[in-house]
């Protein structure tokens, strides 16, 4: 640790030469980070949205489902990865499973909130014109709950991007690998800060993509305030 003490002059917080010299590694880690995030949120959505539909139909299920998800969400990420890794092995799998578990609660909660908030009059009207249960779901309830579901997906994505970095403790942290490597490599500040900034930027970009997708999917809401 004594050798780590360096002056600001030889250890700048940020350097463009670091970015240009290591562009390929940065890109590789960012891609790894993005793919893991997308995969985790996609899996969580595929599980949570149908569960949310089920919970909004079978009312007594809503409490236990949301409660269980909330308990899992309370477990600190480092602890969850530390529990999963020794059992599943070091690497990508325990990180992916952990991320899916965290994203589940956010998406599930927003799906249930969104479906509960659908105007009963709209559902009644749809039934009145002869729509069956599936048609009511596909044409009225889901489209009306969509803004809330998209909001859940956005929140889940942004938090997942930040959480991936903790995966470094079990050997798969995307940009977190660079942060930790920089830390161990004589406190290489430029490497840590660049990875941190890249992480924030990735969260912003993915959030923007989901926002745009949500906007494109709900054309009837345009013109109203977001």
């Amino acid at each position: 640790m004594v050798t780590a003490v360096a002056t600001a002059a030889d250890n700048p917080w940020f350097s463009w030469s670091y970015v240009t010299d290591n562009a390929d590694v940065l890109w590789a880690r960012t891609t790894e980070h993005a793919l893991l995030t997308i995969e985790a949120v996609a899996i969580a959505a595929v599980i949570a949205v149908p569960l949310g539909l089920l919970a909004s139909r079978v009312r007594w299920l809503a409490g236990p489902l949301l409660g269980t998800a909330a308990v899992v969400y309370t477990v600190p990420s480092l602890a969850l990865f530390a529990i999963l890794a020794p059992i599943m092995g070091i690497g990508r799998q325990p990180v992916l499973l952990g991320l899916v578990l965290y994203a589940l609660l956010v998406i599930l909660r927003n799906t249930v909130t969104g479906l509960d908030g659908v105007d009963p009059a709209a559902v009644d009207a749809a039934r009145g014109v002869g729509h069956g249960p599936l048609q009511v779901l596909a044409r009225v309830r889901l489209p009306n709950a969509l803004p809330s579901i998209v909001a859940g997906l956005r929140l889940a994505t942004v938090t997942t991007v930040a959480l991936v970095t903790v995966g470094v403790v079990v050997g798969y942290g995307g940009l977190g690998q660079l942060m930790f490597q920089g830390f161990r490599n004589n406190f290489y500040r430029a490497e840590i800060l660049t990875a941190t900034i890249a992480c924030v930027l990735l969260a912003l970009v993915l959030d923007l993509v989901l926002w745009a997708a949500g906007r494109a999917l709900t054309p009837w809401l345009r013109g109203r305030s977001a």
């Binding site: 003490v5 250890n11 308990v71 309370t74 477990v75 600190p76 990420s77 480092l78 602890a79 969850l80 990865f81 530390a82 529990i83 890794a85 020794p86 059992i87 599943m88 092995g89 070091i90 690497g91 990508r92 799998q93 929140l155 942004v158 938090t159 991007v161 930040a162 970095t165 903790v166 470094v168 403790v169 079990v170 940009l175 977190g176 942060m179 930790f180 920089g182 830390f183 406190f187 500040r189 840590i192 800060l193 990875a195 941190t196 992480c199 924030v200 969260a203 912003l204 959030d207």
Partner: protein
């Protein structure tokens, strides 16, 4: 699952053995000492965050200004990787318990700020009007009407902050900080995965217990008519 460690059948056993060994609990660097340290760090960070966030949130909510900024701050703080900030603080020479408390407090601040702000701003306007009609000065309107009405949300924010800080503290162990995270960091470094598992269980248990304790606190301090508002 392709990466399953060859030692996986024995890992759970090792964890149980570690947790059953009295030497793991007592003595210097034992679970009890690290747990006490963990709680102390958590309490300090939450205290600092509360001392800053409560007055600022109450003032902003009372004046109904800065709402956009508080919400933006909360959302932006979610995107910032805590680990990166902790490591950056360490490279700036901020090591150990002090830096851990600062980093954890910074990340607990937004949730307390936004809940206090929303609670005060969302106080029933007719109650506020009545207080003003009675001739209460602005300060009294805040302390005697708006803040009591905001208790439910402030308590909910405090609970979230406590759980969040108790989850941030172990991350600092990766940069040499104290607390129960040390068990995980040390186990990883020495490839004793049973100890890693045990550390994970301990950190998780502490977070769940704190969440439970503060759920009770939240219920006790929230006046009965306001309880429905706290469920968010």
């Amino acid at each position: 699952m392709t990466t399953t460690a060859s030692s996986s059948p024995g890992v759970v056993e090792q964890a149980v053995t570690y947790l059953n060994d009295p030497l793991s609990w007592t003595g210097p660097g034992g679970i009890l000492e690290l747990g006490r340290e963990h709680l102390l760090l958590t309490a300090s960070a939450v205290l600092i965050a509360t001392v800053v966030a409560l007055p600022v949130g109450a003032w902003l909510g009372h004046g109904r200004r800065g709402g956009g900024v508080t919400v933006w701050l909360t959302n932006a703080s979610r995107a910032v990787p805590t680990l990166g900030i902790i490591l950056l603080l360490a490279t700036a020479g901020l090591f150990g318990d002090g830096a851990t408390v600062v980093a954890a407090a910074v990340f607990a601040l937004p949730v307390l700020l936004v809940n206090t702000y929303e609670g005060v701003r969302g106080a029933d306007p007719s109650a506020r009007d009545a207080a003003i009609g009675l001739g209460m000065p602005g300060r009294q309107v805040l302390t005697r009407v708006e803040l009591p009405l905001a208790t439910a949300l402030v308590a909910a924010g405090l609970r979230t902050a406590v759980v969040q800080v108790s989850a941030t503290v172990p991350l600092a162990a990766l940069a040499g900080g104290g607390g129960l995270g040390q068990i995980i960091a040390l186990g990883m470094g020495t490839q004793r995965y049973g100890q890693v598992l045990a550390g994970g269980v301990l950190v998780a248990a502490l977070a769940l217990v704190l969440d439970g304790v503060f759920a009770v606190v939240q219920r006790l301090v929230t006046p009965a008519p306001l309880r429905a508002a706290a469920r968010r």
